[in-house]
């Protein structure tokens, strides 16, 4: 089980991967991830934890360190009402599960939970779970492979063998 970190609408890429720590590489970015809006996040995030957010998560720049920082912290994924387009693509390509659901009000900050991307569920403590929108079918192989690079590696291996 992980825990839920609740965030609001319009979490942006400068909050996720602050430009001023860009030179420090992914370690530094992850250590300062979200510090301007949620300073308790990076020091306390543990593998398996889940961000639950509102609308337009990941808006702003195309820097994929925004998704990479979350993956580096071991997050199980992000569940939001909606995602900004480039962040969504980047997360899929890096193998970070990102799922949407129209109503996430049952997911409370600090609550224990487990993300089940393949099953499309956010499992809460007790018997509860929130049903998430199914992932687009064409993206499943990329997520299953763990991201675009391992997916393409397998493809080139196949093509090379053919």
């Amino acid at each position: 089980m992980g825990r839920i970190f609740r965030l609001g609408d319009d979490v942006d890429t400068d909050q996720l991967a602050p430009g001023r720590y860009m030179r420090g590489g992914i370690e530094a970015l992850a250590a300062h991830c979200l510090e301007s809006v949620r300073p308790d996040f990076a020091p306390n995030a543990r593998p398996g934890d889940i961000i639950v957010a509102g609308r337009n998560f990941g808006m702003g720049s195309s820097r994929e360190q925004a998704a990479e920082a979350l993956r580096h912290l071991g997050l199980a994924g992000v569940v939001a009402e909606s995602f900004a387009g480039i962040f969504y693509r980047n997360a899929i390509n890096l193998g970070l599960p990102v799922l949407t659901a129209p109503d996430l009000s049952a997911a409370e900050d600090g609550a224990e939970a487990r993300l089940d991307p393949a099953g499309g569920r956010l499992v809460l403590a007790g018997e509860h779970s929130i049903t998430l929108d199914p992932l687009p079918e064409n993206l499943l192989p990329i997520i299953a492979a763990g991201g675009l690079v391992p997916f393409l590696k397998a493809r080139f291996r196949r093509e090379g063998a053919a």
Binding site: R20, S36, N93
Partner: protein, 427 residues
């Protein structure tokens, strides 16, 4: 469900359909051939080269890749110099078209004739929708996805619905594309584009110059659209001919009357007043006349706010005026070529006489780079696209966005003002 033959298509559908090799319907996911990939020094070679190496493949087509250095230019830090060196070495090794230190990628790409209407283009930067001003379906992607494109020449995309944004009537004196954009960010919000195709249309848009149209397309990113399209016309064709690009046959590259639209918004230019966006979001838009803020720094920079048209607008205000005491004006022309034109026009001389500091043709502080990053507790009025907290420097810095006219007038007044009074005096 049987798909009906569609007779009326959107511009987005037409471009994606050609790149996918078949007719496409809104909502379906297709794999498309990429006509051109643009990368820069920050997200480019230093990030894609290791991935290509890991994949064990080279570029799918080096003639369809353009590399432009703009983020770490002028390389005045050890790290920046190292990244630029790596960028140059990769350019030499791969033989891709390379524009080094010539300005910001979104301005340099069309300026050097790489874009033509109808292309499907990816860029390794979030302001890549700028290319939509030329009727190209151009959008931003991250470095890993770019490596995938460079390896395969393909990309998946969901055929978007079209959000048609129509502006009618003549844009009044003192108003620019940036005012239109900030008003749209305020009205529609930063997710109003829903990662669909935003398309600008109407006689207001048709009357705009190519560089002003680029400001609209660029900031489709701030609306959360995947692209910001403008159907090509004679203005586009003239620009492309001057840039040495062969525009080809662009007739028919429009959204057909009767095509299904996701949304259609209608605005009257006559109702628009100069806009500013308050810290820390472009969506915090309102009339410049209602803003009550003293400014320390005025910044005319970025792909969206320091093209030749932007520099010319600012100079209209600054000619014969001086900066308010204590205000610093920074000008970073968006491209070398635009700066050269502005120098020939006498515009750069106006900035010098006014006491502005001229910065390199690069992304600069808009992207949080360089020695002029905003320090703590400063207030800045900026012609850039984004005023997110901490983006341009210290998180306590307060950044307002406005048109180059508004930025220049505010630099003269020492506080944020509607530029129309000064323009009236100048006339």
């Amino acid at each position: 469900m049987a798909m009906q033959t569609q007779t009326a298509n959107t511009l987005a559908q037409k471009i994606i359909g050609r790149a996918a090799g078949r007719a496409v319907a809104v909502g379906e996911v297709v794999t498309a051939r990429v006509d051109l990939a643009m990368i820069h020094d920050s997200g480019g070679p230093r990030r894609v080269a290791p991935i290509l190496q890991e994949l064990g493949v080279g570029l799918w087509d080096s003639e369809r890749v353009v590399l432009i250095s703009d983020h770490f230019v002028p390389g005045d830090t050890e790290e920046g110099a190292r990244i630029l060196q790596l960028t140059r070495a990769w350019a030499a090794e791969t033989g891709v078209a390379f524009h080094d230190g010539q300005g910001i990628c979104h301005v340099v790409l069309p300026e050097r004739g790489h874009l033509v209407p109808g292309m499907l283009v990816v860029g390794g930067d979030s302001h890549s929708p700028t290319g939509g001003a030329f009727g190209a379906y151009m959008f931003g992607i991250g470095a890993t996805e770019m490596a995938g494109v460079l390896a395969t020449g393909e990309i998946w995309l969901r055929v978007p619905g079209t959000i048609l944004i129509e502006w009618r009537g003549a844009l009044g004196s003192g108003l620019m594309a940036k005012d239109i954009m900030l008003a749209l960010c305020g009205r529609l919000g930063m997710d109003g584009g829903k990662y669909q195709a935003v398309e600008y249309t109407g006689d207001t848009i048709a009357a705009l110059s190519m560089q002003e149209r680029m400001t609209l397309a660029n900031m489709a990113a701030e609306l959360g659209g995947q692209v910001g399209l403008i159907a090509p016309d004679a203005v586009t064709a003239r620009y492309l001919a001057a840039a040495g690009a062969a525009p080809g046959d662009w007739t028919g590259l429009t959204t057909d009357p009767g095509a299904d639209l996701l949304e259609h918004h209608l605005f009257e230019a006559a109702t628009l007043a100069p806009q500013v966006a308050a810290p820390h979001s472009p969506a915090n838009a309102g009339n410049a006349a209602d803003a009550d803020a003293a400014v320390d720094i005025a910044y005319i920079g970025a792909c969206t706010g320091a093209k030749h048209a932007d520099l010319a607008a600012a100079a209209r205000i600054l000619r014969g005026r001086r900066l308010a005491p204590g205000v610093e004006l920074l000008v970073a022309p968006a491209s070398r070529r635009d700066q050269d034109r502005a120098a020939a026009d006498g515009i750069m001389a106006v900035f010098e006489v006014a006491g502005a500091k001229i910065l390199p043709n690069a992304c600069g502080i808009c992207a949080g780079y360089g020695a002029h990053r905003l320090s703590a507790d400063t207030t800045c009025i900026s012609s850039t696209a984004r005023n997110f907290k901490g983006r341009m420097g210290d998180p306590t810095a307060q950044v307002w966005l406005g048109s180059p006219l508004t930025v220049a007038a505010s630099a003269v007044a020492g506080r944020i003002v509607d530029p129309r009074d000064m323009l009236a005096e100048a006339a």
